[in-house]
Amino acid sequence: MKTLKFLLLGALLALFSTGPVLGGDVSSHVMSFDFQQINEISVTGTPNLNISSAVAGQEPSEVTDSSSTCAITTNCANKKITASIDVAVPAYVTLKVNVAAPSGSGTSQGDVTLTTSASDVVTGINNVADSNPTITYKLSATVQAGVLSTDTRTVTFTLSD
């Protein structure tokens, strides 16, 4: 009889303990973002270099053009910019390029002589977006080059590992 009383008491307790449920049903979905590698570079400007003077007794004066810029975006680490020209410059003529490092990332290699082989101009570039690094070209020649007619070269910049 006592047991029955206890069971009844337990049932009553259960009736009064039916408050809000402790948890709830759960459903879910995935939210996913695939960040792909981004390595973009572009250049602007059409530099014009014309050697036309010299100090008496010295080689012809080097000329400089800093009217070009490059724009670079990468979300990767340890990238570099290389530069090359499509056709070698004439004998006794030297064409150099100096690309400023993007703000806050990378190291400019200073004046680099352009050849038909790719040369590093900026190294150690990490996760950066900069639309304004300056490109400076320098053209020099010795008197052995003689008089040359106007010519053009295409400079190719590459962002690579």
Partner: protein, 162 residues
């Protein structure tokens, strides 16, 4: 004295046997859909030299939510939301916003973007069975500072009978 001890034991044990059978336990929630976004060079704000767009937004009805198993139109509930990251980047911030009422019972709240965190937050509430509650998703914080990889989190919707 023995009587008091038995009473005490009954008080302790009764919830274990009875609370799991409450009338509120049948309510359920189903979230259908997912959001997978690829971010590449086409997402740069202005091409080379620019950063990625900061914010990405899904279509209006990216996720559809159904609430069922209520005890009728006056059975109130709320939906809480949280995320559990699998490979996530702390710069990324997911948001949700309810974009439709669905059909059936009533729904209120959740019509402004709510950031989803690791802790449950109330998203919206309502009563009765409702189907087709549409949800739009948003993610902010993208930039080229985030290394290339696939970042994923799971959004959990919990319906609580109230």
């Amino acid at each position: 004295m023995r009587f008091l001890i038995r009473i005490f034991i009954i008080f302790l044990l009764a919830p274990l046997f009875f609370t799991a059978q409450t009338a509120h336990a049948a309510i359920s929630i189903t979230a259908t859909g997912s959001w997978v976004e690829t971010i590449d060079k086409n997402d740069l704000a202005a091409g080379a030299g620019s950063d990625l767009e900061n914010t990405y937004t899904s279509v209006s009805g990216q996720i559809s939510i159904d609430i069922s198993g209520t005890n009728g139109a006056s059975d109130a509930w709320r939906v809480d939301i949280r995320k559990v990251d699998s490979n996530w980047n702390s710069n990324l911030h997911p948001y949700v916003m309810r974009t439709s009422d669905g059909t059936g019972g009533s729904v209120s709240g959740g019509t402004a973007y709510l950031e989803v965190t690791d802790i449950n937050s109330q998203f919206f509430s309502g009563s009765g069975d409702v189907t087709g509650i549409k949800v739009q998703l948003r993610m902010t914080g993208a930039s080229i500072q985030i290394n290339p990889a696939s970042y994923s989190t799971v959004i959990y919707y919990t319906v609580v009978d109230i």
